[in-house]
């Protein structure tokens, strides 16, 4: 993976999957849209190369969490590969979200112990 400037964080392993699933919760999207959306919503803090999305997308599809279909984009007169969340993917998202929350809380407890006590 290419070097990143310090103010950008590297994506934690496995986090990308969750972010993609979460993004798709709003409705079907193609790879470019997903990447743009993640970047925008994190105020460019998570700046990844779009390309790294595709392996993740294909992996999710293989696991059955998303399905894909070629559809014409409403604003461009071309077909893009749209990914759509499946029921299985929805459940997976819930699981990952709760795991993430647990981990974030655990990390927070270690980093700011006093804040926790007070």
């Amino acid at each position: 993976m290419a070097r990143q400037s310090p103010q950008h964080a590297n994506l934690l392993q496995g986090t990308l999957d969750m972010l993609i699933l979460r993004t798709l919760l709003y409705g079907p999207a193609h790879g470019h849209e997903i990447g743009k959306h993640i970047q925008r919503t994190t105020n460019d803090f998570l700046q990844m190369q779009h390309g790294s999305l595709y392996p993740a997308l294909h992996r999710l599809e293989r696991r059955g969490w998303v399905v894909s279909k070629w559809e014409t984009a409403p604003d461009r007169n071309r077909e893009f590969k749209y990914y759509r969340l499946t029921e299985k993917g929805r459940k997976q998202l819930v699981v990952e979200e709760s795991q993430w929350k647990q981990m974030a809380e655990a990390v927070a407890r270690v980093l700011w112990p006093t804040a926790e006590e007070s």
Partner: protein, 875 residues
């Protein structure tokens, strides 16, 4: 995802990526960038698209296979682009793999194939253990012992016996001598093979008078024209009538030794005489089929109980044979050849190892030349694993090519081996390239590919791309580390080569010693032959008269210097020991000593040129009417009459021919020792009886000639034909042949191992030559500078040769140490020489050093002749 959808899937991915990339580009343009800037920005935002493709495909699961296939095709293209390199590597590999495959085929046929009988694991070879001799010495069974074992055991489904012999078949006016086995009636049943035609032997076939014969498939074809109605027919053999019981199926043979028996007869013949009732007449081989679930140990305990009981009951004959030996038949059959085959297989594996090191060196050089290519790959995103994988796929592709050529070569070599092979390795004729051999070839090819590929692959994957690209541009690719690896390979090759050279050197020196052994007789210009006079064809007197006449008539043939007959012919594999006692030294019957028996007609010692030491040799005084006499050899005299004159002493030999029944005989002479069993077997005590006083078997004719002995064989046949047309002449051979055959196995082993050592020497030389040539090319610049600064050509020459010598010396020192340990495995195969023989070690090290200097010479010469001007200007 199915693999056949990969193509479609790839297109899909391509389309997806380009659609999204185009979109990005469009968006960048909409932001106001110029088209070129937009494309560049889009691509930067997108990342390494090749890597993305790879990583995405990886998630499909079928990628590994696809990638191997890609690498394989790429490897083939690469190899095709360097035909010279490819051809030489494939040739070296083919030699190594071919030799290994051929030897493995032999090992496979001889040792690994199961016996060709149903449930072969249950077949056991049985014998008694002779406790009078040190170590575990198996002793054959006598018929009465066998009958007891057969009826009293609880652990065998059946026990059968066989004993080899010969018989004269009289068919359509012609007589022919055939190898036979006399067997018990349950013989075929124990082996688990039924006749394909006719009936099996029955218990009553063991009774006197019920002479029956079972034909082998091949004799049924050749002598009886595959007659369908042969069963029940009568066959004249040795002047008796035998009923043909049946024909065994094609390929059936037992015992599995050469020559294969042409037919099997029931023991009715032996039962007609007194053999089946003589305890102590230990001649039978026994084979048993264990009951299901019984272990050999249990069977041994069971039979040992019976043997111990027999030893108590019959101390005269069985006292020393109080335990039984039970050994899996396959193990027994292959026992003698196991060590030799193990050594040969070990040697050929060493050759293969050298081939690996050699090819690894070649690949290193090639990889160094391709340093730039791999650096480029690394720069544009190939992972380290990918580079290693690709190099390994290339090397395995190479080794598979070598393997295919090698198995082909091995097939040819195997045929040559089988033809050359004088060793009596059972089942050797059936050695072939079967599924197991092919599998072995495949495994060994892949293994060699990985072995010789792993070093260069590892080296390449570690090189820093930037450095390699820069170095590559100046054509000095490969650094110090790579040289160390390459040096190591050359040292390893030298060491292994020396081990092989020393091993073959030891065998050679041992062979020379064997060939220089004095056999105790003069084998030059002596023809020998056997004459199949059936016992019972003539009376005792007539039989003797026939041989007297025969010898006299042959002696009269022009070109014959002298003729006689005796038994056994030394090194002919005929051999017997008979117990005896010396008069005045009474011992219990069961404790009587036994020594080798010999029979001799007058003139035998003179014809054989066995020297007379004292007393006299046999002459007409020792005939039917004469006093019973005996001649002993020096070893006998030394063992039984130390510090005593043996002449005039009396010996009673426990042997009878109905006329001279265990007579007390006077020692009339002492003759020189002969090597009875073979050149490498020590001399042993032996005594000779006059043939006229011990007519127990047909003797070997010995005929000393002035010219080529084989030129007289027709004359000898003619003499026998004149005397009796119904008597066949067989085993016609020169005495030199017997002596030579006795050294056949060491000669063959030495020959093969020397071939391997020769290959090793060439490989070691090529390895060193390859390294030094490469070094010279690489250091062209440096050498040029040196010369420009005033170095003499001889300095350069010396410099390169010294480098070769240092490597060789390192290899030689390591090799000597390894050889010192490894050659101990040869101990059993060496005669008259220790496995650590310093002369051999020194000589072989010297040979290797000389060859190394020669191998360094050419590159050194090339370096010294270099034009410094040109060397420095070339890029």
């Amino acid at each position: 995802m199915r693999w056949w959808q990969v193509r479609k899937r790839n297109a899909d991915l391509e389309r997806e990526l380009s659609a999204d990339l185009d979109l990005e580009e469009e968006e960048q343009r909409e932001r106001g960038l110029s088209p070129d800037e937009a494309r560049y920005a889009a691509r930067r935002a997108f990342g390494n698209s090749a890597l993305i493709r790879d990583q995405t495909r990886e998630t499909w699961g079928w990628v590994p296979l696809e990638r191997w296939w890609q690498d394989f095709r790429f490897a083939l293209r690469q190899l095709a682009r360097a035909p010279g390199f490819t051809a030489s590597v494939v040739l070296v590999l083919a030699l190594g793999i071919g030799a290994t495959t051929a030897i493995f085929s032999v090992v496979n046929a001889a040792l690994l194939q199961p016996l060709p009988f149903p449930e072969p694991d249950r077949l056991m070879w049985l014998s008694q253990q002779n406790h009078s001799l040190p170590g575990v010495v198996p002793e054959s069974l006598s018929y009465p012992d066998y009958f007891d074992w057969r009826s009293k055991n609880h652990t065998f489904a059946g026990i059968a016996t066989c004993v080899g012999g010969g018989i004269t078949v009289q068919l359509k006016g012609e007589s022919q001598r055939l190898d036979i086995q006399t067997v018990s009636s349950n013989f075929f049943q124990v082996l688990g093979v039924a006749p394909m035609m006719g009936r099996d032997f029955r218990l009553e076939d063991e009774q006197p008078g019920n002479r029956t014969v079972m034909l082998s498939y091949s004799i049924w074809q050749s002598m009886f024209g595959s007659a369908k109605d042969i069963a029940g027919e009568t066959l004249r053999m040795d002047d008796h009538s035998y009923t043909v019981a049946g024909v065994m199926p094609k390929g059936f043979q037992f015992p599995l030794e050469n020559p294969a028996p042409a037919l099997w007869i029931s023991m009715a013949d032996d039962a007609a005489g007194k053999k089946t009732s003589q305890r102590g007449f230990d001649v039978l081989s026994a084979i048993g089929r264990l009951k299901p679930g019984v272990t050999p140990e249990q069977a041994k305990a069971d039979l040992s109980l019976i043997a111990a009981e027999l030893a108590r009951q019959y101390p005269d004959t069985n006292m020393e044979d109080s335990t039984a030996l039970v050994q899996p038949e396959l193990e027994h059959m292959t026992g003698d050849t196991r060590p030799a085959l193990r050594v040969l297989f070990g040697a050929v594996m060493l050759v293969l190892l050298m081939v690996c090191a050699n090819v690894a060196g070649l690949l290193l050089v090639r990889a160094a030349r391709r340093g730039g290519e791999f650096a480029l790959r690394a720069v544009i995103g190939a992972s380290r694993a990918a580079i290693i994988r690709q190099l390994l796929v290339e090397s395995v592709t190479l080794s598979l090519c070598g393997g295919i050529a090698g198995v082909g070569l091995g097939y040819g070599l195997l045929h040559a081996l089988v033809r050359l092979m004088p060793m009596d390795i059972p089942r050797m004729q059936e050695a072939l390239v079967d599924g197991r051999v092919l599998l072995f070839g495949l495994v060994i090819s892949v293994a060699t590919g990985l072995l010789f590929g792993v070093v260069p692959a590892w080296r390449m994957s570690r090189s820093a791309p930037g450095l390699a690209l820069r170095e590559g541009s100046r054509s000095v690719a490969g650094g110090r580390a790579q040289h160390r690896v390459h040096n190591g390979l050359v040292v390893a090759q030298t060491a292994i080569g020396l081990v092989l050279l020393v091993s073959s050197g030891l065998l050679m020196r041992s062979l020379v010693r064997i060939l220089n052994v004095d056999p105790g007789f003069d084998p030059g210009h002596v023809l020998s032959a056997r004459v199949g006079v059936p016992f019972g064809r003539y009376s005792h007197d007539q039989h003797l008269h026939f041989f007297d006449q025969l010898v006299a008539r042959i002696a009269a043939v022009p070109g014959v210097q002298s003729a006689s007959a005796g038994w056994p012919l030394p090194m002919s594999a005929s051999y017997a020991t008979i117990t005896f006692n010396i008069q005045g030294r009474p011992v219990p019957r069961g404790d009587e000593p036994e020594e080798a028996l010999g029979l001799a007609m007058p003139g035998y010692f003179a014809t054989m040129r066995i020297p007379l030491i004292s007393g006299r040799v046999f002459d007409e005084r020792d005939g039917l009417k004469g006093q019973p006499t005996i001649i002993i050899n020096q070893a006998f005299a030394r063992k039984y009459f130390p510090n005593q004159n043996p002449l005039g002493q009396h010996i009673q030999v426990r042997l009878g021919d109905d006329v001279f029944e265990q007579s007390v005989r006077e020692i009339v002479g002492v003759v020189g020792n002969t090597r009875l069993k073979g050149l490498t077997d020590g001399v042993q005590p032996e005594y000779y009886l006059p043939y006229a006083q011990a007519v127990v078997t047909n003797p070997y004719l010995v005929i000393r000639t002035s010219g080529n002995p084989l030129a007289l064989q027709d004359a000898v046949r003619a003499v026998v034909q004149q005397m009796d047309e119904g008597v066949p002449v067989y085993q016609v051979s020169t005495l030199e042949d017997y002596v030579s055959k006795s050294a056949a196995q060491p000669r063959f082993q030495t020959f093969l191992l020397s071939c391997f050592a020769g290959m090793a020497l060439i490989l070691a030389a090529i390895g060193l030559y390859g390294l030094l040539s490469y070094v010279v090319v690489q250091r062209r610049c440096e050498i040029g500078v040196r010369m420009a600064l005033g170095a003499q050509r001889t300095d350069i020459l010396r410099h390169i040769i010294r480098r070769g010598l240092i490597l060789t010396l390192a290899g030689v020192i390591a090799g000597l140490a390894i050889a010192f340990v490894v050659t101990q495995a040869l101990t059993g195969m060496l005669y008259g020489i220790r496995s650590s023989d310093p002369v051999t070690f020194a000589a072989m090290a010297a040979v290797l050093l000389l060859v190394s200097v020669a191998a360094s010479g050419l590159p050194a010469y090339r370096a010294a002749r270099m034009d410094p001007n040109q060397a420095l200007r070339e890029p």
